[in-house]
Amino acid sequence: MSAVLATHELSKAYAGKAAVTSLSLSVDAGQVFGLLGLNGSGKTTTLAMLLGAVVPDRGSVRWFGQAASARQRLRIGALLEQPSFYPWLSGEANVATIAAIKRVPAVGVQRALQQVGLWSARHQLFHAYSLGMKQRLGIAAALLGKPDVLVLDEPTNGVDAQGIYDIRAIIGEFAKGGGTVILSSHIMDEVEKVCDHVAILKAGSLHHVGPTKAVFATGGWLELGAVDLAALERALRKLNARARIEPSDGILRVYQSTLSGAQLNKHLLDAGIVLHHLVQRQPSLESQYLALMGKGDPT
């Protein structure tokens, strides 16, 4: 697959404080790429540099194999932080101004507004829109002219449950059509449901990058229960010397087991121990993420 976006050693500092340091990333066509990080980790600064809103101190950005420029941005639909439009223009007129920049005909404005469910509210002034409506309008502007890439910074911010569902559906549909999505989010559930690749930023530096499943494949434990817990623990230590075993509410938790649940069950049965509880547990994406960021244990 060809790289839609490539950054090389991208760096930015504000008043001497590094916001992003030597960030090199590559996003292939058709990927749904999640940018994750705690507050202040440099996600928005990174997206702003990719989109030409912030001037990098060092490094380069290449879109579609060429140095980033306004011409390339015409092929990108983007929403950075809160949507910003003329407060005294209607929703439709605001999208029309962006359509004028992107050279999209009027019918495209109608299609985009209908796609986000704002067609009936098109005559309302932007300042009278609710937070969720503003967010939808921002996404409508981003969808104008069927862009090749969607760059969305926390797209479900302030949107109600129905809106979140709709926005995820729009992203999914866009990706299904072969489009590339670059998405920053705090919501791990969103990343899990939407992104196939992920990059984690920590204090402005790239901490992890790769397929979502591979990045979050850490952790996991087995829960085992038997009538005689002491005998079970002895047998487990014999079978799995390196595993960490912890008692918890009448069961045993086995971390870093080299044997699978089925293998353990077979060996324990051979040793005369009948299990009444055997469950494979996976830590939540959120706890794995926090563990990756050094903010907690994946369990």
């Binding site: 030409g52 306004a70 439009f85 223009l89 007129a93």
Partner: protein, 256 residues
């Protein structure tokens, strides 16, 4: 860029309302005043004279200038929204070059000035004084110098507003920037001119940005009254160009 400007200006319902209100009020007030003075012809010849050609042009321009506060509401609304960095950012992200944004500000301001002037001329024509004769032109040596009052006010107001908002935004300190820009023409320049002797005054005043712009507003041709002011149009233009260049350079390096 032109598509963006037209999409924006056509989208502004307040632009249409304020322009129509401005135009309508000039026509209505002029017509009412003309009817009134015609009815009391003879008793108040002076008033009647205001609505007889060629003096009517001067009256229309004066009325139009006085009524400029109506579209001023819209202009303030537009310019303040224009210099909201987040809006600029949205346009840059959408694919506009930064220099195109500066250029669109300039064109937009020129368009608004043109709107004011066209409104004034249209009012004169609407009132039934469609043909401009030599006598009309003779009112203030030329029609252009007659319109200068309105043009001057517009340029002064727009330049001040743009400079104030732009400085506030680019310096990211709106309150001190706007205060400085208010204090400069109201306090610093007048105080400077107050302390100077007549000879020095003549040498310095044309080069003060707001004093030079201010002379554009004057009704009479200032060059006749005070020779150094003949420079002011060019000085004002030079300041305007410098301001556009500085804004362009600053915006090019500003993080949005």
């Amino acid at each position: 860029m032109i598509r963006l400007l037209t999409a924006k200006l056509f989208g502004y319902r307040s632009f249409h309302r304020f322009t129509l209100l401005h135009l309508g009020l000039i026509v209505l007030l002029s017509y009412a005043a003309a009817q009134l003075t015609l009815n009391i012809q003879g008793s108040v010849d002076q008033l009647h004279g205001l609505f007889a050609r060629p003096a009517v042009w001067r009256t229309i321009v004066g009325l139009s200038r006085w009524l400029l506060y109506i579209p001023a509401f819209f202009v303030i609304q537009l310019v303040c929204a224009e210099f909201e960095l987040r809006v600029v950012r949205a346009q840059v992200i959408a694919g506009l070059e930064r220099w195109q944004i500066v250029l669109s500000w300039v064109v937009q301001n020129l368009l608004l000035v043109a709107c004011g002037v066209i409104t004034t001329i249209a009012c004169g024509l609407l009132l039934g004084y469609a043909s401009i004769e030599q006598a009309d032109v003779g009112v203030a040596s030329s029609l252009l110098s007659l319109l200068r009052a309105e043009l001057g006010y517009l340029i002064y107001g727009m330049a001040f507003l743009n400079a104030a908002v732009l400085s506030g935004v680019l310096l990211r300190r709106p309150v001190p920037a706007i205060m400085l820009l208010v204090l400069w023409p109201l306090l610093i320049e007048p105080m400077l001119t107050f302390t100077l002797e007549h000879k020095q005054l003549a040498a310095v005043v044309p080069y003060l940005p707001f004093a030079s712009l201010g002379t554009l507003v004057t009704w009479h041709n200032p060059s006749a009254a005070f020779d150094p002011f003949a420079l002011t149009t060019w000085v004002a233009l030079a300041y305007g160009l410098a301001a556009v260049l500085v804004a362009g350079l600053l915006l090019e390096r500003t993080d949005l």
